[in-house]
Symmetry: C2
Amino acid sequence: MGVSLKDVALRAGVSVKTVSNVVNNYPHIRPGTRERVQRAIDELGYRPNATARHLRTGRSGIIALAVPELGNPYFADLAAAVIDAAAHHGHTVLLDHTAGLRTNETLVSQGFRSHLIDGLILSPIQLENEDLLRRTDGPPLVLLGEREYDAPYDHIAIDNVAAARLAVRHLLDLGRRRIAFVGARRETLRQPAHLRLRGWREEILRAGGTPRDELVVATDGYDRLDGAVAMTRLLALPEPPDAVFAYNDLVALGALRVLAERGLRVPQDVAVVGFDDIEDGRYGGVSLTTVAPDKAAIARLAVDCLIARIEAGAGGAAGADRAAIVPRRILPGHTLVVRESTTGRARAAEPRLVPG
Amino acid sequence: MGVSLKDVALRAGVSVKTVSNVVNNYPHIRPGTRERVQRAIDELGYRPNATARHLRTGRSGIIALAVPELGNPYFADLAAAVIDAAAHHGHTVLLDHTAGLRTNETLVSQGFRSHLIDGLILSPIQLENEDLLRRTDGPPLVLLGEREYDAPYDHIAIDNVAAARLAVRHLLDLGRRRIAFVGARRETLRQPAHLRLRGWREEILRAGGTPRDELVVATDGYDRLDGAVAMTRLLALPEPPDAVFAYNDLVALGALRVLAERGLRVPQDVAVVGFDDIEDGRYGGVSLTTVAPDKAAIARLAVDCLIARIEAGAGGAAGADRAAIVPRRILPGHTLVVRESTTGRARAAEPRLVPG
DNA sequence: CTGAAAGCGCTTACAG
DNA sequence: CTGAAAGCGCTTACAG
């Protein structure tokens, strides 16, 4: 440790500028010079110091991805996709974990660690609009997920209302009439922004039904246990639901577990649809019908947007005026993956995990 | 962006040294001075530039954790625990993803990104001993996981042989006599270091049984699909097993899925034990008996070891001679969590997910 | 095509 | 208790 440009320059008998040129692949270098420098680099085992470069250029080549829960496979998948997409741009990803807490999300968005990163992709849960408006500086920011904000930042998310309606329509088509919605987090229950809940409501109304409040169960979080608790409450109803649309797959899996414990048949007694298409959903005793967001597209679009903002900021005339930013809203696609938890059999495309 | 120590010094009418002292909480500063400086800091919204500090001190306050698969909840849990433990030492964690590939693991261990981090915790899959011996410089390194190496690095892992024997003994105690081992990765099959397989063998021999080769199924990876494929092969045997000990929970869950598809009863027809104690295992149609490593202890010990090495290196007289490092091997604890997949009922301590 | 020099924002002996 | 100055390892106008 400790071989610097200067050491290489000394050995090759050139200036540090020339070594820097070789390292950075500048076009116009005399072949002999390049060769001599390259040999010195190899002999000395020189490797550029990213920190010094960062200090000088103001660019680290690192972007951060802040997600609420790494333990949720959805975010693990998303992280993998973001890492891929960033690699295409020669960027490294720093993974951050907010636990879905407002304080952490605010901290991250305010530019905690901002000297380290060129940009931030944030998937917020509790962050409020005012937290975002209070953000005065910090690197470019791209938002992910269901929450909608009135702030000058790009936002990438599938059309959650449409996706939820797709799921509910599927249940209606199967003849279900008492469809519960499980997983509305308490503090967001009143917000108009709770898009999946809105989709549930709209689709039931469209079909001529009545969205019943007693069939909407608020939860503390979005985890399996929350789904289990909610399902238990639903089964205690005088007239339990014949279908459940869960906020996400983890919640749905918790619900499935309780149904299994009670000896209820899925989907005969209760059909279940999740959201996210995590791998776990394919491997339970009953495989899970779910809404599959196009994660690769989400990741790619988010990274592309962010990189564009970073580069615009660098070349920005008169200092990229934040107020002048026109935020982009992009809607990647989604599909409904039908499996046993609604139809009682695996779909044609994946009849069985293993043939035989 | 752009407020430096110098700006603060100018405003407060002191030297940069004094500002630096205030920022770093040096004890002996005249109260009036500190106050004046603090006010300037607040007014200007100054925040120290971590990159410059890193360049100067050689310490970034960042440690890297490189794991094979973020999608495996075991590693997600472990990552969360490491982040916690590192925070106690005022360190930030950079998460790295190797996909369990030798090239990536070598790259990471060789000090890719080494200028950014103070130390590395690596959980290798395919890394070979020679890859490790070829490591000439790079920051302190702590190894995690089942693979054992003859190289001068600390290694934190539970006693995998003992843990495997515990699992197999449980199956033997239940009267099972044809116990399969599923999940030996092909390329590691011949290695004596495949500790869980060794535990399986030893425990069967101890009980007076015969470890049968046809009951050991190699897999391509350690994922659900691998478990499903392996289980399918086992069921095609003339005499299928009456129990399965899986390399990890994901493999076990894949096996459970195939058993469910075939209409076989768990545990009556086939009992299943996994390894890792991931949350998914508690929520299937049949909850999974599993070996639970003490993840918090693993994380804490790994971080403690690493920080100790980092600080020793910094203060090391005559440059911490790598050959002089005496590697530490530490064995955190583990327990067997008995659930439905072996006993047919949830254990007393967690009878049902939700009472009622 | 290449060199000499300034400077990114810090910390840290060295003085006083 | 505080200041002036060097230097961490780079990149980048500015010359030539």
